[in-house]
């Protein structure tokens, strides 16, 4: 009689991978987080000072990544741009977690009830509005600002977290230890916090890193089309939009911000993969 750990909750020692991707991903991510933090105190050049005399310089010893059409230092702008990207993504993921996770827990604790249906159907509805469309609507009403990007990406994150939370909570609700807790007279809320949440935390952490990386990409897209951070605040998407007409004679303007985006997103995704292997090898990736 073969016995399996049916709950899928036990720690599986076999199949443990070396956390290489966690290290690489963590290192890449920390580079950008550190760059963003340092930019508050120091950047090689000021990003506001224009220096037309030094415009469109190729990368060199004095300007590591070259300069743009106003003579601003690209390296410094990428440092400051990291600030915007990371801040927007963190707040947006925060909105998604703070609203989505409780909704998902609530829906799972009242499976098939009216509340469950309501939460899930509103989720489906929000899914029909890609964050870009939400951003467009908000911009049409309130005008452009970095706040738009945060709200738009944050709203889109809510159903993602609600769905993942509910989906991973439901199988746990069927386990016997939940029944044992109910025999002890514990309420749905208390069971959700005491028994469900700790057991889905690893899934939420992994989903968090994925949404974080998607947030960076979405922010870049929004500021590229002018719906995100407004000039003069440097942002990676904005820098790419500005570089577009000069790409044939100053390719470094497009390459460095692009590589910054790719490296950050890649780092976060690798970190997510590593965390998933570390926390639970059986976890499936949900997007």
């Amino acid at each position: 009689m073969a016995k399996h750990d049916k709950s899928g909750l036990g720690k599986s020692a076999s199949g443990f991978k070396s956390p290489t991707s966690l290290w690489i991903g963590g290192a890449l991510t920390s580079i950008f987080v550190v760059a963003a933090l340092v930019s508050f105190l120091w950047t090689p050049y000021s990003v506001e000072a224009l220096n037309i005399g030094a415009k469109l310089q190729a990368p060199s010893g004095t300007h590591l990544f070259g300069t743009d059409h106003f003579g601003r230092d690209i390296f410094s702008m990428i440092m400051v741009g990291a600030r915007v990207s990371i801040a927007v993504a963190i707040v947006a993921v925060g909105i998604g977690i703070l609203v989505g996770v409780p909704l998902g827990l609530l829906a799972a604790s009242r499976q098939n009830s009216f509340i469950d249906d309501l939460v899930m159907r509103s989720n489906d509805l929000v899914f029909a509005f890609p964050s870009l469309l939400i951003a467009i609507l908000i911009t049409a009403i309130f005008g452009t600002s970095a706040l738009n990007a945060i709200i738009a990406i944050g709203i889109f994150n809510i159903p993602v977290f609600a769905r993942v939370t509910r989906g991973s909570a439901l199988p746990i609700w069927t386990l016997d230890f939940i029944l044992a807790a109910r025999v002890a007279g514990k309420s749905g809320l208390r069971i959700s916090l005491e028994h469900i949440l700790p057991n889905i935390l690893n899934i939420l952490i992994v989903q968090g890193t994925i949404q974080f990386s998607l947030g960076i990409l979405a922010e870049a897209g929004l500021s590229y089309v002018g719906l995100g951070a407004q000039p003069p605040t440097p942002s990676w998407g904005r820098m790419l939009a500005d570089s577009q007409t000069m790409i044939s004679f100053a390719p470094h303007l497009a390459i460095f911000p692009g590589v910054a985006i790719i490296a950050t997103v890649l780092g976060l995704n690798l970190m997510g993969d590593g965390l998933r292997d570390l926390l639970d090898p059986k976890l499936r990736r949900v997007r």
């Binding site: 025999v183 002890a184 007279g185 514990k186 700790p198």
Partner: protein, 541 residues
């Protein structure tokens, strides 16, 4: 005549770890060869070695001959021709062993199309014939049905139909009835026996259940830790068993704990005219939801200190009844009273329904131990916290040092130590987990413990220990048990009185020894007749 299947000195390593050592056994023509052993003894991997379906990194040595044909020397392509054509195989879990997206007909004809270029019509004809052969013919089950529309027993019959579609000489059956109810199991075993008797099939039957093998097998091999410790013709082996491990296994399988002398006083639990129903959604577009009565008009009583068995097959309503006694299940009508406290009482269903069905919160008088030792505990909490959980239910719960003392006392009572308090549940074996589950039930000193298939998932030797523990605790604490099980031998071992349940009703009740030896109701008779048993005179020696 040479045996059909001849295994000589089979050894198996997976990733460098030795799994099987020097397995030698043979299956003759028209024979049923049993392999018995507890979980992890290597029964299934022996079968998969023969099939050549081992996981990656497996290294096998030895000789396996099928009709003189050395299987280990065959290429993968040649093995594909042998599988399904010369050896068929069926598995334990009929619920997941069929592809949910394909009709059963197409899954049976697939065996045929794999091995020859026969026409669709011809294959279809054979499929229908095989469906009839396994008892699903006569237009009862169409070949266009999908697996999810069938019951567990029917699915296992479809599995057999596709395994024998090409009329292989050998069928490997890996725990084919373990997941099934007693009556369903009897039907499947009868079918297998019939195939051996009338079609000359040979079967390698793997089972943990010695009674099933006593009933079915011509000879049996007993496995322990990847090796065969003893083997031989079934009856002499069962009568004589010499090897210490075999002796231990047989003793555990028929173990009966020492029972306290029955002296019962006051009624503890009273259930009166209980009815519980569920709403079932209609399958039609605007059809009305129909009511399905899971428990209909059940009355029962459990006395203080009494151990009562509740026997019934899956879907008979015993779990719903248990949930109601725990105070977790809204009821339609009736009354449940425990030690003077009302768990649930509904007299006027119409009025109560409108308010939302009435349930009062449980008061810590009753506790439960579950079947699955893996899903019963939150893996993120330490044992101390797990055991402390029921304190939530009682008003004057101890705290701080006193609570720790109570937890330690409970741990020691179930044979564990206070140092286990700070461990996590994954550090314990299945049997130890079941002890922790009992400690959790015991810690608030309840009057009644519901044991929901509490020993069904355990190997026989562990099962015997847990049954002893339960018998002992019952005496020291004056506990009452409601022992829910499908396994009559366990019920016989530990209960004073037994209730037989079918379709939401209690058909028969009475002293366990009386009901099991002289049942009144036809269903009970059937249940007892269908339960495989080691013949009494085989053991008595």
């Amino acid at each position: 005549m040479n045996p059909l299947l001849d295994i000589k000195n089979l050894s198996l390593d997976i990733g460098g770890t030795p799994i099987l050592r020097d397995i030698s056994l043979s299956v003759g023509h028209g024979e049923i060869c049993g392999i018995a052993g507890e979980s992890g003894s290597g029964k299934s991997l022996t079968a998969l070695s023969v099939m050549g379906l081992l996981p990656m990194g497996a290294q096998r040595r030895g000789v396996v001959r099928l009709n003189g044909n050395d299987l280990f020397r065959r290429s993968e392509a040649e093995m594909c021709q042998i599988r399904g054509r010369e050896i068929g195989m069926i598995f334990q879990e009929p619920m997941t062993a069929l592809n949910p997206l394909k009709t059963i007909g197409s899954q049976i004809t697939e065996t045929l199309h794999t091995h020859s270029k026969i026409s669709k019509a011809e294959a279809n004809e054979i499929a229908l014939e095989k469906l009839a052969r396994v008892g699903l013919g006569g237009g009862r089950i169409s070949e266009n049905t999908y697996p999810h529309e069938l019951s567990g027993g029917q699915r296992q019959r479809v599995m057999i139909a596709q395994a024998i579609a090409w009329q292989p000489a050998l069928l490997i059956a890996d725990e084919p009835t373990t997941a099934l109810d007693v009556t369903t199991q009897a039907g499947i075993l009868e079918l297998l026996r019939d195939l051996v008797d009338n079609e000359g099939l040979s079967i390698m039957l793997i089972s943990h259940d010695l009674a099933v093998l006593a009933d079915m097998a011509d000879h049996v091999s007993i496995m322990e830790n990847g090796a065969i410790v003893e083997g031989g013709a079934t009856e002499p082996l069962f009568r004589g068993h010499r090897h210490p491990y075999t002796q231990k296994l047989f003793a555990a399988a028929s173990h009966i704990p020492i029972q306290p002398l029955a002296k019962f006083r006051e009624p503890l639990l009273t259930v009166e005219n209980l009815r519980i129903s569920y709403r079932k959604k209609s399958t039609k577009l605007f059809g009305k939801a129909t009511k399905f009565e899971a428990v209909s008009d059940v009355s029962l009583q459990i006395l203080e200190g009494e151990s009562v068995g509740l026997v019934g097959e899956s879907g008979c309503g015993k779990s719903t009844l248990a949930r109601a006694i725990l105070g977790l299940q809204p009821i339609d009508t009736g009354r449940i009273e425990l030690a003077g406290a009302t768990i649930a009482s509904v007299n006027n269903p119409e009025a109560e329904m409108r308010k939302g069905k009435a349930i009062s919160s449980p008061a810590g008088l009753q506790q439960i131990v579950f079947q699955d030792p893996y899903g019963s505990f939150n893996p993120r909490h330490k044992v101390g916290r797990l055991i402390a959980e029921p304190f939530h239910a009682i008003p004057d719960a101890p705290s701080g040092k006193e609570m720790v003392l109570r937890i330690d006392a409970a741990l020691e009572e179930v044979g564990l130590s206070s140092t286990d308090r700070d461990k996590y549940i994954h550090e314990f074996s299945g049997g130890q987990r079941q002890r922790i589950a009992i400690a959790r039930a015991l810690v608030i000193k309840p009057k009644l413990i519901l044991l929901d298939e509490a020993v069904s998932a355990l190997d026989v030797s562990i099962r015997a220990q847990i049954l002893d523990l339960l018998a002992e605790l019952r005496v020291t604490h004056g506990l009452s048990y409601l022992f829910i099980s499908h396994d009559l031998s366990v019920v016989r071992a530990i209960t004073d009185r037994v209730l037989v349940m079918l379709n939401g009703q209690i058909l028969e009740s009475g002293k366990t020894s009386e009901v099991l030896s002289a049942p009144h109701h036809d269903y009970t008779k059937q249940l007892i007749a269908f339960t495989p048993q080691i013949p009494a005179d085989w053991i008595s020696q």
